[in-house]
Every structure is written in structure tokens, then in C-alpha cells.
Amino acid sequence: MTKIHINWVDIGDINDIPLRGARCVKTPQGKIAVFRTADNEVFAIEDHCPHRGGPLSQGIVHGTAVTCPLHNWVISLETGKALGADQGEVRTIRVRNDNGALSIALESLMMAAE
């Protein structure tokens, strides 16, 4: 039986991330890229472009999307899907923003720990 258990893990403050920028969170399953948009929205996705594995956290953030630094794929931060003509998807991770204190939901982590 699999029990889905949402584990909110604190990762820091919203001001640790530059506006229209990103920071990385290291986890045993790989890096997670946490983005802060111009409108102060926060998103987290796997730091791994569906195309060739580029580090999305290093890309240019515009609107609610990021352009991968390796080959310019544009990935939606909301859905994790590639925009435009490209096809592919990265995992999105839920983020909680409690007055600027950020935490991410690591459900798979719990499964892995069991």
C-alpha cells in the first residue's frame, strides 16, 4: 500500500531568490529549481530540461516561463510543459509561500524513505 504523505520542507525566504530569477534546492533525487517571477509568484520544477537535461535554473525567466540555457527551449513554470512547437514536460513541485517563507512538497521523498 502506498500512502501519499505530503511533507512540507522549508527551503528559505522568497527574498533569497532574485526577481525574475531562480535558485537551486539540492535533494537526493536531483536538483529542484525554484523560480520567482516579476510578479512575485514562486514556482518549483525539476532542474532538468526535457530536451537534453539542461539546468533550467540557469535560464532567463520571463512571464511564467523559463528559457533553457542550452538550446532555448521554453518551459512553462506553471505546467512544466514545453511551450511553442517543442514537446516535453518536467515534473512540477508544489510550493507553499507563507508570507515569504517558502517550503516545497516532497511527497516522493517520503515514499523513498519508507
Binding site: 520542507v9 522549508d10 527551503i11 528559505g12 533569497d16 531568490i17 532574485p18 526577481l19 525574475r20 530569477g21 535558485r23 537551486c24 534546492v25 539540492k26 535533494t27 537526493p28 533525487q29 536538483k31 525554484v34 516579476a38 510578479d39 537534453r52 537535461g53 539542461g54 539546468p55 540557469q58 535560464g59 532567463i60 525567466v61 520571463h62 512571464g63 528559457t67 540555457p69 542550452l70 532555448n72 521554453v74 516545497i104 516532497l106 521523498l109 524513505a113
Partner: protein, 816 residues
């Protein structure tokens, strides 16, 4: 037999006359032109866009120097004719040149009217008539101080808008109660005043100037009610009067202007006059359409066809201020025998008024929404009885006969003889038949063949719609490639507007130039960031988040997300100490790959991002700075060993290369910039495929540019030969700055050169000392802010968030 034709004046009317004449009678005349202005024929209507920065002088030239040569015309630039000897049939210029004529054409245009008040001759009081006036205004505008424009007519308002967009604090004084009262009724004048004021321009109506105050130069204006308005620049734009002095001295019949018959002939059978200086049927003209009509008639008469005769017609007036649309035509005074139809839409800022007499349109004023101007003009011209469509007339053509609201429907419904281009008198049928008959596919071609939209350009939209109608989907009106999906503007327009509107942040650019996205995209943001860095080196705060990752972390991202680091090796020269330091860094950080680059330096590959500051710290201790091997900026200056070692070397190529690199490092450019210096024509540094190269020869330094050895392979072009190292550096720096200011983002120097013309670059850098020095100085200035080693900055803690993870979570230790 060839006859001698002499023309006094080189404005738009005689220019057009010659075009017609060469078409009708190609070799009938030997032509000599005397131009009091020291330049070729340009489009005077477009001076306002030059003033506001939307166009450059080069873009408004009608006939370049080549045209005069091709047509065998002798053009005396800067020669003013001081006398006409009608008995000897000759003219004499102020420089003492005398030319005899068989036929003489006087086209001396007009002179601005100067109101006779005290202080009118003070320095700082200028008129608005020619390019010199525009340049004087641009110079004055650099002060960003206060300007007063006297005159609230077409010219005055265009001057005011131009000066305001150049950053001046502008007040317009107008003697009448409302602006442009000759073209607009009071209601439209009021809307216009509001729109002008919204641009930050103050408007004072019913303003009578008492005097211009100041001791050595203009300090302000005093009105007759005692108000004093401070100003460092006063522009008089109160009107023009025909320039008929020379004709009067020669004893020709002169009234307000030089009196001519309907064939443009003066009281002397061998002398014609046309343009703003001519008076025909008791009228003088200032708008281009009737002047071009005079040109057509004068050409026919010179060619021997005496049948065409000038007939008066009303010409629509349009204001060339971006964002203000107004159209005015004919007579709109009130009267007992007249009716009017008015439409007002306050929210949309629209006002339309039609004045009717006997069920026919005699006057039209459109403000805010002017698309139906051509249609109303057509109805007026043909004196169409409008009683059938009275109810819906004011809504425009789209509402007649239930035709759909397709944007091209209005144009499609126009008859073939409807006038599209008022300036050049080009009707719809002529345009469509030229498109199909000559297989034209671009706007420029249509302009070249028909002249439609080639003067003031305000009918460009209509011409484009005609092209869409005629060519269908094969016509793509976006001839200018937009920067990206976020804007309709091309790179060049954006660059020009950044300077003209003095935009100094990315949000300001996006707001003012109406970006379609909230914060741009990965294409436009780095481009805008570069343009702003280049144009405002001391004011613009670099937008870190708009730079590509390599320029943010000052290293090159690799396919696995690690980085490569290339320290600068000046001119490719190193020593044991530097090599030892590199070896130690490689060992300490277990760097997996060390590679010698094509630019004569050493690349360290496979470094983890977190290790970058520590790697730089160790390299910095050995004296290394960033090699900017990642930058859209100066990369390397490759050298050979030159006269110090090589038995063939003619100059110290290594020393020059190092000197250039030390001078230019840190500069940002539109795309990467790679240089090389070879000590002799054997060219071991491969300088002839670089962006900029130098080949040393015995007699000096041959400067090359615009080479490529990447996606494209292309040998360089020669810029020129200079004698000393100092000059070589100076010319290379000036060339680089010209490229920095004009290149489109990511456009390498060879593509830029191809686009703007290698000769033009040579002319500005080799031929124009003043321009070259100005480019050089601007480069030197910007280097003050650019030459900071990014590695040592980051070793001292700048952007440290970039090199550390935000958090590390989920590991067993962390979970405990």
C-alpha cells in the same frame, strides 16, 4: 541640339521636375543646379521625424550624389545665386561662378517669417526650415533646458513635439485662441491642445510676444501681458513667405511670389518659376502636392509640351506627430447655406466634422480617427451628391451599403481614380496596375515605381492595404523583421527610439514602445540590456536577470551544466608563473580537461558552478583576470611574434595586440568581437578572417575588418592604411564604437558591415575626422564603467547567491 538649363534651388519641386523632364526628354538639356544649402535634395517634409529621432538624415535623402552624376547634372552645393543677368542670359553665384542659360528655372522656395520684435537676432533664436535648423535644435536640445516655440501651426507643433521627445521642456505660444486654426475648427483644436499637453508640452494661446529677452543670448520671452517665460532656445515657426528677392532684382513680375502663368512661365519667356516661391492664379502654396503638380507642368513645358496647365485644388493637411491623427481638408467655416454633421466620441478621443453645401462635402475635419480621409476627399473632389447616405455618412465608408468591417474593405471599395497619396498625386489605379504590371512585391518597390507614400509617408497604411488586396497572402507587410514576438518594432527602430526618447531602463523601453508582453522574453531582454548599456554607459544599471547565464556567472555553461573558465592571456603571451598557477588550480579542483583555444589561451573545462569563485580566487592571486570568453564583447587579440623575434616581422605585432587588448577589454559589443594582429603579410595570426585585424607592413598598419571564420567563411575587407601604432589603435577603437552603436544584438561585424555598407563605414572612420574622434571619445568614456574584472568582484562576494544552492534537503542528516 542640347540646351543649357540652369536651376536656382535644389528642393523637392525642382528635383521632381527633373525626374519628369529626364523621363520625357532625356537628352534635351545640360543641367546645372545652384543650391544655397551645402547638400543634395532631401525630403523636407520629413524634417520633423528627423528632429524627433524617428528617422535619420540619410533616410530622407531623395537624390543621392550618384543621381546627379548619373544624370550628368552639375550641382554647385553651398552656392547662392546673387544676380540674374537677363540680357546676357546668365546667373552668378556668391562664390563668383557664372553660368549662362537657355532656360532658367527659379525655385528658391520660401523664407521663414520672423516676427519683428526686439531680440529677434539674439543667438538661440532659430527658425524651422531646413536641416541646419534641425541640427541647431538638436544641439540646443542636448542641454535639456527650456524651449519656446512661437507658432501653434503645423510646423510649430511638430517642432515642439520633436524638442519634447529630445528631452526639452517646451512651451508653445500661439497668437490665436486655438491651435492650427487655419486647418482645424475650435473643437478639434481643443482636442489637439489636450493631446499636445499630455506630452508634457505647455500651450499658451492668445499669446502676443512683446520681446525676446537676453543680453548675449536668449534668456526668455516676454509677452505683452508682462509674463516672462525663461528659455534658452526660441523657435520661430509663425509662417513662411515666398523667397522672390532675386526675381524682383532681376525685374521679373513679383506680387506675393514670382508671378507665373498656368504653365509656370514668368514674365520673361525663358525663365520659369515653381515651388513655394511661385504665385499662380493669385495663390502661393506651401504643401507638397501642388508643388509637385507645378513640377510636372514645368517639366512638360520644358520638354516642349505646352498643353498641361496648373489648376488649383485643395490639399488635405496632416500633422506628423506620432500618436496624433488629424486630417483637415477644404472649407469648414459656418454659413447660412451650409450644414454640418458632427460625431464626437469623448472616450475614444474622436471628433469628426463634415461641412456640406448643396448635399456635397466642401470641408472635412477628422481628429483621432482619420482612416476615412481618403474617401471623404474623393467625395469632395468629385462633388458627389451624398443625400442617399446622409444618415451614415459620418461613420465612414465601411458603413455604406452594408459592406463588412474588413480593414481592407474601405480601400477595396475606392474607385480606381481615388487619390491615395496626396503628396505625389498618386491614385489607386496607378498603384494597383504598377503592382501587377511590374510584379512589385515590397513597399519600397511600390515607392520607387509610383512614388506613393514616398514623401510624408502618412498614406503608407493605405498603400500596404492595396498591396494586400492586390497580392493576397503573398504580401507580408511586416517588411521590418520585429525584434521578437514581444514587439512589432525592429532592432534599428528600438535602438533609435531608446536614444530619441531617452529611455534608460528595460521597463521604460517596454512601456514607451508598447511591448506586448509584461516582461519580455529571452530574445529581447538581453538585446535591450545591451542597447541600454551601450547608449547610457554611466547611467544604466545593468539588468543581471536579462543576461544569458554565461554573462551572469562569467564562465561558459557546458552540456552537463558544468562551466569552463578561460583566463585572459594578453596577446596570447604567458610565462612560467602563470602556467604554474594554472597547473595548481587544475590539480586542486580536479579539473578534468585543459585545452588550448583557437584564441591563444587556455580553457579549463568541467568546473562545478559552486567552485567557480574559489577557482577565480586562486587564478586572481597569479594576476589573472577574466578572459571574457563567454561575452558578447571583446574576446581575444591574437598575435604573432612580430619584429621582436621573427625574421620577417615588420612591426611589433605582439606589443600592438597587447596594447589593443588592454585598451578594449571589458567592452560589450552586439556580438562577440575577435581581433588579431599579424606582423607581416604572411599573416600567422590569421588576421584576415577576424572581426577586426591588422596586417603590419613596412609603411605602417593595414586595418582590416568584417571577416568571418565560423558559420560563414569570409575574408576581411580593408578599412585603410595608417602610419603609426597610435593611429591603428585610434581607428580600431572608433570602428568598434560605430559597430557598438549601430549593430543589432547578435549581429557580427561582417553582417553589420554588409547591411550598412562598407563604403559608409570607411567614409565615417577613415574620411571623417570629426566623427572618428567622437566615436573614439564615446568608447573611452564607456570603458570607465566597463573595465572592472568580474572575477575579482565575485571573489569579493558579489552575486554570491548565484554560486550556492538555496537549500539542501532530504538527505539523511538533514532529516534527522
Amino acid at each position: 541640339m542640347t540646351q543649357k538649363l540652369v536651376i536656382i534651388g535644389n528642393g523637392m519641386a525642382p528635383g521632381r521636375m527633373l525626374e519628369h523632364l529626364f523621363e520625357q526628354a532625356p537628352s534635351q538639356y545640360d543641367v546645372t543646379i545652384f543650391n544655397a544649402e551645402p547638400r543634395v535634395n532631401y525630403d523636407r517634409i520629413m524634417l520633423s521625424p528627423v528632429l524627433s529621432g524617428e528617422k535619420t538624415y540619410e533616410q530622407i535623402v531623395i537624390h543621392g550624389d550618384g543621381w546627379y552624376i548619373e544624370n550628368g547634372i552639375m550641382l554647385y552645393k553651398g552656392h547662392k545665386i546673387v544676380s540674374i543677368d537677363r540680357a546676357a542670359k546668365s546667373v552668378t553665384s556668391d562664390h563668383g561662378v557664372t553660368e549662362s542659360y537657355d532656360k532658367l528655372v527659379i525655385a528658391t522656395g520660401s523664407v521663414p517669417f520672423i516676427i519683428p520684435v526686439p531680440g529677434k537676432d539674439l543667438p538661440g533664436v532659430i527658425t524651422y526650415r531646413d536641416l541646419d535648423d534641425v541640427q541647431a535644435m538638436l544641439l540646443a536640445a542636448q542641454s535639456r533646458e527650456k524651449a519656446v516655440v512661437i507658432g501653434g501651426g503645423l510646423l510649430g507643433l511638430e517642432a515642439a513635439a520633436g524638442l519634447a521627445s529630445r528631452g526639452m521642456d517646451v512651451t508653445v505660444l500661439h497668437v490665436m485662441p486655438t491651435l492650427m486654426e487655419r486647418q482645424l475648427d475650435p473643437a478639434a483644436g481643443y482636442l489637439l491642445q489636450k493631446a499636445v499637453e499630455q506630452r508634457g508640452i505647455k500651450v499658451i494661446t492668445k499669446a502676443n510676444t512683446k520681446q525676446i529677452v537676453g543680453t548675449d543670448k536668449v534668456e526668455g520671452i516676454e509677452l505683452d501681458n508682462g509674463t516672462i517665460i525663461p528659455a534658452t532656445l526660441v523657435v520661430m515657426a509663425v509662417g513662411i513667405r515666398p523667397n522672390a528677392a532675386i526675381a524682383q532684382e532681376a525685374g521679373l513680375a513679383v506680387n506675393r511670389g514670382i508671378v507665373v502663368d498656368s504653365g509656370m512661365q514668368t514674365s520673361d519667356g525663358d525663365i520659369l518659376a515653381l515651388g513655394e516661391c511661385a504665385e499662380v492664379g493669385g495663390m502661393v502654396y506651401g504643401l507638397v502636392a501642388p508643388l509637385y503638380e507645378m513640377a510636372r507642368i514645368a517639366a512638360a513645358h520644358l520638354a516642349g509640351d505646352r498643353s498641361p496647365a496648373f489648376v488649383h485644388s485643395d490639399t488635405p493637411t496632416k500633422l506628423k506627430v506620432t500618436g496624433i491623427n488629424l486630417f483637415s481638408l477644404g472649407d469648414f467655416a459656418e454659413g447660412d447655406d451650409r450644414e454640418e454633421i458632427v460625431l464626437r466620441d469623448a472616450t475614444a478621443g474622436v471628433y469628426k466634422r463634415l461641412v456640406l453645401k448643396d448635399n456635397r462635402i466642401i470641408g472635412t475635419v477628422l481628429y483621432g480617427e482619420t482612416a476615412d480621409g481618403a474617401w471623404f476627399n474623393d467625395l469632395k473632389k468629385k462633388a458627389t451628391d451624398i443625400s442617399e447616405m446622409r444618415e451614415t455618412l459620418i461613420f465612414g465608408q465601411a458603413y455604406q451599403g452594408g459592406s463588412p468591417l474588413d480593414p481592407t474593405a474601405a480601400v477595396a471599395a475606392l474607385p480606381d481614380d481615388a487619390e491615395i497619396c496626396g503628396c505625389n498625386g498618386v491614385c489607386k489605379g496607378k498603384i494597383t496596375s504598377a503592382i501587377t504590371g511590374k510584379g512589385l512585391t515590397s513597399l519600397d518597390e511600390v515607392r520607387a515605381h509610383t512614388k506613393a507614400s514616398a514623401s510624408c509617408g502618412s498614406c503608407t497604411g493605405l498603400v500596404e492595404q492595396l498591396m494586400t488586396l492586390t497580392l493576397g497572402d503573398s504580401y507580408n507587410p511586416a517588411a521590418v523583421q520585429p525584434m521578437c514576438g514581444c514587439s512589432d518594432l525592429g532592432h534599428d527602430d528600438v535602438r533609435r527610439l531608446i536614444k530619441a526618447k531617452r529611455l534608460k531602463t528595460i521597463p521604460a523601453v517596454m512601456q514607451e514602445l508598447e511591448w506586448k508582453t509584461s516582461c519580455g522574453c529571452a530574445k529581447c531582454r538581453p538585446a535591450l540590456n545591451y542597447y541600454l548599456v551601450c547608449d547610457w554607459p554611466n547611467e544604466y544599471a545593468d539588468d543581471y536577470q536579462s543576461r544569458f547565464i554565461n554573462e551572469r556567472v562569467h564562465a561558459n555553461i557546458q552540456k552537463d551544466g558544468t562551466y569552463s573558465v578561460v583566463p585572459r592571456m594578453w596577446g596570447g603571451v604567458t610565462n612560467s608563473g602563470e602556467l604554474r598557477a594554472i597547473a595548481d588550480v587544475v590539480d586542486k579542483f580536479e579539473i578534468p580537461m585543459v585545452k588550448v583555444t583557437g584564441g591563444q589561451r587556455i580553457d579549463l573545462l568541467g568546473i562545478e558552478k559552486e567552485d567557480l569563485p574559489a577557482v577565480w580566487a586562486d587564478l586572481g592571486k597569479a594576476g589573472f583576470v577574466s578572459g571574457q570568453a563567454y561575452a558578447k564583447g571583446l574576446r581575444t587579440v591574437k598575435t604573432c611574434v612580430g619584429s621582436d623575434w621573427c625574421r620577417f616581422g615588420t612591426q611589433d605585432s605582439t606589443g600592438l595586440g597587447i596594447r589593443i587588448e588592454k585598451f578594449m577589454w571589458g567592452s560589450w559589443t552586439p556580438a562577440k568581437l575577435k581581433l588579431a594582429v599579424s606582423g607581416c603579410p604572411r599573416n600567422c595570426a590569421e588576421a584576415t578572417c577576424k572581426d577586426i585585424g591588422v596586417i603590419c607592413v613596412d609603411s605602417g598598419f593595414e586595418i582590416h575588418f568584417a571577416g568571418a571564420a565560423g558559420l560563414d567563411i569570409k575574408g576581411t575587407e580593408i578599412l585603410g592604411l595608417v602610419k603609426s601604432e597610435d593611429e591603428a589603435l585610434h581607428y580600431i577603437v572608433a570602428l568598434t564604437q560605430m559597430y557598438r552603436e549601430q549593430g543589432r544584438y547578435l549581429e557580427r561585424i561582417y553582417k553589420w558591415g554588409k547591411r550598412i555598407g562598407l563604403d559608409e563605414i570607411r567614409r565615417q572612420i577613415m574620411g571623417d575626422t570629426e566623427k572618428r574622434h567622437a566615436y573614439y571619445e564615446r568608447f573611452v568614456f564607456s570603458q570607465k564603467f566597463a573595465q572592472v574584472d568580474p572575477w575579482s568582484e565575485r571573489v569579493s562576494g558579489k552575486d554570491k547567491h548565484e554560486f550556492r544552492p538555496m537549500a539542501t534537503v532530504g538527505y539523511p542528516e538533514a532529516a534527522e
